[in-house]
Symmetry: C2
């Protein structure tokens, strides 16, 4: 028997700063009987990513903003619990934009993007398929392999180094022989990044002298930056660039709570972009969603490193669908280490 | 007989904002008799460029800051008036970093960079060899050909479109078949850019509704930006980018008067850099000095376009060496159209 009630978060208004229950309302809704060509997926894990926050803003983003009153967009993994279509058999594991809801109705006419049926048995635990062996790991791989391209002995800086993407990016740069310096927001995270993940150094950006620490940790300058944070942290890295440096602009989480209408941030902006001229550097923005054709190559590379014990990851698991808003806000407080997931 | 007095500008302190005679002191100094291996060049034209202002700041730039009490660094063209070395015969035209002085002592041990002896007769008027057929034109060519690479029908925005580099860059983009939209600071400049230089449109960024005008002038978005200005103007362009856009970061003149120690600007920074992620865009800083090997190719391309009547330029000539500081400050007031030169 299927539980015929769906719990979902609907976006009632665009948040100003951190997300509140008035912005994202948790509602219970009946699930109508399935029609032919439909299936029903019960969500088991939700991926909580900085980009969720972007989608809530009225921003010129890479996907349209989530419409007011629509179910919040989000990546997840789940299992087919009822089906009237052959390609989504009951019991199959499914991933994609399930949305912030505990049941997702699979219907080609209603879904924003098609869902993917995963192989059976799963090649890894489901949460890893949302993380290091899923879009998180692929994002890190694309930024390091396509944009940063560090040579052995070059210095790579990774901001949000204890975060889901940063932790993988730094290990991939290490695998290429680079010196890797992280930036993270607590002594515990810095210890984790160095001792558990093998970074060469990690600077706590909450220390008063963090910029001096960064300078000391990058005595030969910075050849590549895997950027997740933006703001003052990115400016400090830009001021350490070497000639010909590459910046993979993956995220700017420091400003996602502050986008004004149209997309410009309202926080004090980047002040060291001129260093791109001085150091003849290149900054390239990228999105994992553009590169679906390369996902198999990326996943194979990540899985191979993991099998060799050269790629590790940590999950921060928040239990309970009703904790999703808290989980999202944890990202901006830097409360998580590694991949942040909601166990539905 | 050679006039044995050299007038030169020495940098006495680093300017705060516009340049004053207390920052750059005009002094007269005797010229010692030449030794073997030396020659003396009398400056005929000085090139006045935004980069001069960068060199005065204590900034992590692409060349070391001009030392306090040193002669101000600058590009010029002149004629050998006395010589004790065979490769600099009397009467030869010479270009390079002559400095802000009316005589330059050619001495390999003293000069920061070697000077170049030009062919005789000169292939163009000397001021053109500092402008459209010199480093100015080559800068525009590198940014359009290597970075912006517009296809026919794409939209290219050029800021400081009536300036020395921007005016050439837009014409090069037009020659590739792009739609070219300029940004300039007066109705007269906008008229010049459209009517004389052939841009498709030009927006006066001093109009209150300039951002809306820019949006209307780029109905299909922006595929490439040749950026000379930075600040709010660049942010507005970034918010119009199409997916896969290219930004040639040539200059950020809006902040050169405001660099703090270390190189970060003190003006409100760039607020729309996140659009590089949203639009998967690439921003590449570049410097003409890196590409000396390609100067002949660039000059040949520029000269060919000029011969066909498809490349035009305007000079703003300031008469008299004693007016050099005024000329420099004109750049930041946007008082010049085209190449700004001092006729010494």
């Amino acid at each position: 028997m299927v539980d015929r009630t769906n719990r979902c978060y609907r976006l009632r208004r665009r948040p100003d700063g951190l997300v509140t229950p008035q912005d994202l309302e948790l509602v219970e809704e009946g699930i109508p009987p399935l029609r032919d060509g439909q299936a029903l997926v019960r969500t088991s894990w939700l991926s909580v990513d900085p980009t969720n926050r972007i989608w809530m803003s009225d921003l010129r983003g890479y996907l349209p903003p989530v419409a007011i009153d629509a179910v919040m967009r989000g990546l997840g993994i789940g299992e087919v619990v009822e089906s009237r279509r052959d390609d989504f058999p009951v019991g199959a594991h499914v991933t994609g934009m399930l949305g912030f809801q505990d049941h997702c109705l699979v219907d080609d006419a209603l879904l924003e993007a098609p869902l993917t049926v995963l192989p059976d048995p799963l090649p890894a635990p489901p949460q890893a398929l949302l993380g290091a062996l899923g879009h998180t790991g692929i994002t890190a791989w694309l930024g390091i392999e396509d944009i940063c391209r560090p040579a052995a002995g070059e210095t790579v800086v990774v901001s949000a180094a204890a975060g889901a993407v940063g932790s993988i990016a730094g290990q991939l740069a290490k695998a290429r022989g680079a010196r890797v310096v992280g930036l993270a927001g607590s002594p515990e995270k810095c210890r984790h990044v160095v001792e558990d993940l093998g970074f060469d150094a990690c600077v706590n950006y909450k220390d008063l002298d963090w910029a001096e620490q960064l300078a000391r940790a990058t005595p030969d300058g910075v050849d590549a930056d895997f950027e997740n944070v933006g703001g003052e942290i990115m400016d400090a890295v830009l001021l350490r660039l070497n000639i010909g440096a590459r910046i993979a602009l993956c995220g700017m989480i420091s400003e996602y709570n502050d986008y004004g209408p149209g997309g410009g941030s309202t926080v004090p902006g980047q002040r060291a972009i001129g260093q791109l001229i001085m150091q003849r550097a290149t900054m390239t923005g990228f999105l994992v969603l553009d590169h679906a054709a390369r996902f198999p190559e990326a996943i194979a590379a990540l899985a191979a490193l993991a099998a060799e014990g050269r790629l590790r990851w940590t999950d921060t698991v928040v239990d309970g669908f009703e904790s999703t808003i808290d989980a999202l806000n944890q990202l901006f407080a830097g409360a998580n280490t590694g991949k942040l997931l909601v166990r539905v």
